[in-house]
Symmetry: C4
Subunit: 263 residues, 4 copies
């Protein structure tokens, strides 16, 4: 079935800025974008499902199931110094290279139709140790973009360390060129242990983001939000690990139904 | 070739209830749905073949071969308190994530065209030990559905244990939302050893199911049916394991013809 | 690019019998079908290339390269007791399940258009030891077919050993049903060591085949043919093994150019 | 999204010769083709991106990102004894067999439309040891091509060593047949250690190439160019290895964002 975007609402947006925050290292991008959605009370406009996500559903407390999906939210500017936003969050990134490209193309094509010309992607940046004050490192789709973000607290020395950005945050930025959407990737420094969500790195990104967007965020609530997310994240990552190990390491039972307890 | 549904008959059905029971943990769903097809003398209406099944055929006693396939059966209500049914059984689930999504979408699209608005998916639920009286645990596509099933002997506390449902039974339930088909997944508690079919867990599900559907089932025959299935299941699982191990662990001979003796 | 059949000639054939012999255990099917093509001086009518073959080319003595491909040959009946034939041989089978289904479907669809209603697939049958007089075991697409082949020296007890046929010979037979093409699979008993081509098992199949087809074959040439094939087969299998090991076991250098010496 | 070719310019070319040089063993083909592009000041006419490349972007010194891509350049003949050229270079080859076929087909279809009837593919040829004077070995799409290249310093004994050419250089040559594009593959002898770019093997190829094309190349600059490339190549290969190891060996974190320091 490939990748499907199901539209729930068709808002009229004015030159919207697209913000991407999917799960990744320390779940930095996911936490930051999710918090933005909550704080701004952004509205859901579309859901994305894909056969490049794992083949299972998650159970809620209510015993209702939840497909792995990505979600697009929008928010309309309240003041003159603000901009309309489209925010992408989700449970998962693609489990293969092909899906990464497919999903990024589908989403970029969608936000392009909504009038998007600019994006900010949010991610973690593994440095192998925890930092009291994690920095926010910036990468751009092309050099001109740096000018626009110079005045913010972003370290644009990333390139000097010669690196790569794996997954959605990098691909969206790179593929944007073919959709005339330029932008910046904000990477919050994090230890890089995959299991632990890192709210501090997310907070560092959110501080920069609140300046860029001219929106106020109640950082007091962030820690509480992260607590709520932790259980979900733990369940998801544990499942993903087990299912992948299942499929790749051994030959038995790739098909089947399984219900796992955690904690 | 992706996934193909080959229609054999086009029955007119009235608001049919869709029941899914494919192989999985303890083959609980497969045994229960297969027994239902036998007991109700349901008629085959379609076959599904897919390039997401393993690339081999099974040999019958008669020396004739048998493609891996899923099958759709229908049954027309005999009484006023009964409903028309469409039942999905099969030899196999997809061997990759992409196929799981593709097959679920193809089947849901098919049963939707037949007028389906509601489904029951059947599966096992691995608890790591055998139980004298396995419970039936329920998960729903959305919370409202619980009301419809409250009066039956189903434990709707699944969500409190925080889990996931891997494979067809979960995906059908989750994807149903995009086809306006809601429903419940009935999970029979089973030890979870993949090789052994668990008729007791299947019986627990079938008891609940016979109340829901208002049909009488002769449980005396169940054990005999399971015996007949065991040889087939053993052959299938053994082959699947060997073929997958073949393809993934070593680099030699992914192509080729092979005929294996078992038992 | 999926799978492409490139037609070279469009012969008019009368109710042609389709014979499949691709590489597999002991290369039994491949040797038998290749020998038939040589002995009958069958003409090439089409080539099949597929992105489900490995991504390399083979070098001939002449320094010219050779794509991995399958080939379709035809032969017109010379006498009243003979039939027109279409024979499929090739360098390789698909390297994944999906490709196996895709290629079988493409070929069946092609031979169906040529008027085919019947097929014979040729394969090896691993028994773990060498036999002085390997038997030919038969599997059929449906029970009625056995009658047609009862008078030949084929053991139709295969089913009693409960097994599976992996790869092309099985899938062609199974999928044939959806193209109204029925048939038999002839499996020559072979030790099953993948590296060694087994001309004795191929000869056993060819003897049965020459009776069925009413054609005379000069078995004196068979050993010479096999010698000529051996070098090619060794090169191919060695490369396949190395390339697969390359791709799966380690993470380095899946891309790249490589030229290997053998022998 | 499969594979996309994005045209940047539509030059009119006269019977252009197509030259392929993508990364591979010792990066021989990539270095040679890249140097040709630089020395001839060839112009970029198209970019190719593919979901069969790895799912990450590379960071430049400037902190701008760079999608993995292939690039097509053209050069117009300056003299009567020269020919118009189309040159393919790139960061990466496909990471799977299917992509290799898809990309080769897309590119061949593209250059065919530009009037191409002939090609030269460039690659390394691993011999397990360094040589003071690496030879250039030739393989051809069909035997007639050898005549055209006999007068140049190419060893056409490759076939006698019985081998294969893995990846783009081989596939382009083999698939060319189906596009009526014939040609030669020039393989520079190299030790075959994957990490180290081998400018000496590239130089050997370039010397032959400059005779064939009647163009002068300043080989004094070659070493400097290779130095500049080395850092990029190291980063790319290291990342590729890590990402693949990540995806295949363990089950954890196939999704995610990652920024790696190297050197």
């Amino acid at each position: 079935m490939a990748t499907k975007i199901i539209e729930l609402e068709k808002p009229k947006l004015k030159n919207p800025l697209f913000i991407e925050g999917l799960p990744g290292i320390g779940h930095v991008g996911r936490i930051a974008a999710g918090f933005l959605v909550e704080e701004l009370k952004a509205k859901k406009m579309a859901e994305l499902i894909s056969s490049h996500f794992m083949h299972y559903v998650l159970l809620h407390q209510s015993s209702s199931v939840h497909m792995l999906k990505n979600e697009l939210y929008y928010w309309k500017a309240k003041g003159a110094n603000q901009r309309d936003l489209i925010i992408l969050i989700g449970d998962s990134q693609s489990i293969d290279s092909e899906g990464h490209y497919e999903i990024a193309n589908e989403v970029l094509s969608f936000v392009k139709k909504m009038g998007t010309k600019e994006m900010i992607t949010l991610a973690g940046f593994g440095i192998g140790e925890s930092k009291e004050k994690p920095r926010v490192i910036g990468a751009v789709s092309d050099m001109d973009v740096i000018k626009r973000y110079k005045k913010f607290d972003i370290d644009f020395d990333a390139g000097s360390k010669i690196g790569t950005i794996v997954g959605a945050s990098g691909l969206f930025l790179g593929l944007g060129k073919y959709y005339d959407i330029d932008g910046v990737c904000l990477l919050g420094e994090t230890a890089g242990y995959p299991i632990l969500p890192d709210p501090k790195a997310a907070e560092a990104i959110l501080k920069v983001l609140s300046s860029i967007l001219n929106v106020k965020l109640d950082f007091g609530k962030l820690e509480k939000r992260v607590k709520e997310m932790e259980e979900f994240i733990k369940k998801f990552e544990d499942m993903q690990r087990k299912t992948l190990a299942h499929l790749t390491a051994r030959g038995d039972k790739p098909e089947g139904d399984d219900l796992k307890y955690i904690g």
